[in-house]
């Protein structure tokens, strides 16, 4: 990206001044080097988002932003329904409510070293991952609707997990106002045999070790200590979310002229929040959010079963579960006024600062845990939401490293089986049915997650609490 096209607000905050059809500025977070390396498409896409009706404040790009479809990945934008604001299916994406759930294992790294290989094999066997692998849970029509209405609460009531898990999940495990009747039969059919499955691509289940603590007070509130073992699950609403995205994107593209929307990119297709289409999409999308929460709840349950057998002294308890592809109605202070906004976070994590009633009571003083996934050979992070993020980016932070290399280029540059061997030599066990998939997910195909997280911390978007390194990674 050409820095001459940006105005610099502060060391890590840059601005695209409103021009042409832009209603608000674009705001990017990053240092010079990161922004120079960022694709010009991020500039273009952020400017397009800034031109959408009813946008409030600015269109934001997190430090891990990269070229997406419609919105940039790592994009945040909020819309006011009373000001003609819109909801965009492309602004949420296909992977609705993709997110990260992290659990304490209640043991230390040394406790699992001797069973690591068996643990990896059992997790791989028990948790379906990758294309063509279905779950053992097949839901009928009634069960599907109950799952879409109840989210993780439905999963717990169905025997997958413990009621106390719900306290540590965004929205206490169930998103309000889901409307399963607005989810197509095709979307439901696509999900029927996918409950409790990880999917593929950058989705994973990892066993991690806390390598370093940066902020002891927050780590203490989060009950994190060096050498602790954690289990992190990264996945979303699976086929159901993908099909809801497909269905509503098409409908919004076709309806755009009726709403008087001139779209520079059809992928920006959207509908006024108060329109029938906008409301139907929100109801369907909230159902998909519940599907994602139920899915991560079931996967956690499957992981618990494996740990019960292989590491009996382990007890898996939730640290937190937060999504990074969503649109949610949230109250934010903009220009000194509290307003109810529909916040789109596409590849960005909600990061509420200390005191928010949206944070579980035991964690409230420290701020909301912000869970950042890395690639299978690098690191993941736990950050804490900070108050400064509200004014900077509507309480949002990065979500991961972001790719630096296309899948095609990664496939040409790396060999899956060799990567698996090299990582095993470093003590990281990879279990995946597809060596081609492993090559495409090579750690070097991603940006440096340490830098992305450092910039998020220094920019005031969230504060570093702990760095986690992988011990086992199950991928699709």
């Amino acid at each position: 990206m050409d820095l001459d096209r940006l105005e610099q607000d502060s060391e890590y905050r840059w601005r695209i001044p409103p021009a042409g059809k832009m209603r608000v500025p674009g705001v990017l977070y990053g240092d010079r080097e990161q922004l120079r390396a960022m694709d010009n498409k991020v500039y273009e896409q952020l400017s397009n988002v800034a031109a959408l009706p009813g946008i409030v404040g600015a269109a934001y790009a997190m430090p891990d932003a990269h070229w997406g479809y419609g919105f940039p990945i790592g994009g945040v934008a909020a819309f006011d329904a009373r000001g003609g604001g819109i909801v965009s299916a492309g602004g949420v994406g296909f992977d609705i409510s993709c997110g990260v759930r992290t659990l304490h294992a209640g043991v230390q790294a040394a406790d699992i070293e001797s069973v690591k290989s068996d643990l990896a094999n059992d997790l791989c066997r028990s948790i379906p991952a990758g294309m063509g692998r279905r779950g053992s849970i097949v839901l009928d029509d009634q069960q599907l609707d109950a799952m879409l209405s109840g989210g993780a609460r439905w999963a717990v009531a169905s025997g997958y997990g413990d009621p106390k898990d719900l306290e540590r999940i965004e929205e206490r495990g169930c998103i309000a106002d889901p409307r399963p009747e607005y989810v197509s039969d095709r979307a439901k059919h696509r999900q029927r045999a996918e409950m409790g499955t990880l999917g593929s691509g950058n989705h994973y289940l990892e066993i991690q070790k806390v390598e370093q603590i940066f902020w002891p007070e927050a780590a203490s509130a989060y009950e994190l200590a060096e050498e602790d073992v954690l289990v992190s699950i990264h996945c979303g609403s699976r086929g159901l979310g993908h099909q809801i995205g497909t269905d509503y994107l098409r409908e919004m593209v076709l309806a755009a002229p009726d709403f008087g929307l001139e779209l520079s990119d059809r992928e920006l297709a959207c509908a006024p929040i108060h329109s029938d289409l906008g409301q139907r999409y929100l109801g369907a999308m909230r159902s998909a959010m519940n599907c994602a929460l139920a899915n991560r709840q079931i996967i956690a349950h499957l992981a618990r079963q494996v740990f019960d057998y292989r590491v009996p002294k382990a007890e898996l308890s939730l640290l937190f579960d937060v999504s990074h592809n969503i649109c949610k109605a949230e109250a934010h202070v903009v220009d000194g006024q509290e307003r109810l906004l529909h916040v789109h976070r596409k590849g960005a994590t909600r990061a509420f600062g200390p005191g928010s009633d949206q944070i579980p009571a035991q964690l409230r003083a420290a701020g909301q845990p912000v869970l950042i996934g890395g690639s299978m050979g690098t690191a993941s992070y736990v950050l804490a939401g900070v108050s400064s993020s509200e004014a900077l980016a509507l309480s949002s932070a990065c979500h991961g490293a972001g790719r630096s290399m296309s899948r095609r280029q990664a496939r040409r540059s790396f060999q899956g089986s060799r990567l698996v061997r090299e990582l095993a030599q470093r003590g990281i066990l990879i279990r995946s049915p597809s060596m081609r998939g492993v090559a495409e997910e090579a750690p070097s195909a991603y940006k440096d997650v340490d830098t992305v997280v450092d910039i998020s911390d220094r920019a005031g978007l969230a504060r570093k609490v702990a760095r986690l390194v992988p011990m086992i990674c199950v991928k699709g």
Partner: protein
């Protein structure tokens, strides 16, 4: 399944997070078939797919670009719900209506080494056009 196979070409183009599909062919029908081959290649090598089961696909859209997205999304849906990959396609177009027969087989994880599931076809960088020389060209980014 198609005699048009030799005259169509496809490739994947660079997209940071996802995968771009691009193709060129002497007819609109052949272009849609080439884009389907490019779609399969996101998951596995199309030449590895055996034509064991045949399905019919029908879609209709207001313009060629939307029809391409609908076609790719119909294939993605069948791949997801049937657990299949496809290696042969026969597309017939009548205006903006598409009727296709597609051949493939159930995913064999050992043989196909499926890299990723495809979530959906996007409208970003989407195009279908007739080139000055008479060929048809198209492109689409798919989310993986």
């Amino acid at each position: 399944m198609s005699a048009r196979e030799e005259t169509r070409t496809w490739e994947h183009f660079e997209h940071e997070a996802d995968i771009g599909l691009r193709a060129q062919a002497p007819s609109r029908e052949a272009l849609f078939e080439a884009m389907a081959a490019a779609l399969t290649a996101v998951v596995t090598e199309p030449s590895l797919v055996r034509p064991e089961k045949e399905l019919s696909i029908h879609c209709e859209a207001p313009d060629d670009a939307l029809l391409l997205v609908d076609w790719l999304n119909a294939l993605i849906y069948e791949m997801a719900t049937q657990g299949m990959v496809f290696g042969a396609w026969r597309v017939d177009l009548d205006g903006q209506r598409l009727d296709a027969r597609v051949c493939g087989e159930a995913v064999d994880r050992e043989r196909h080494q499926p890299a990723v599931e495809i979530k959906g076809a996007t409208y970003t960088a989407l195009a279908v056009e007739k080139l000055p020389g008479g060929d048809w060209a198209g492109q689409c980014v798919v989310d993986v």
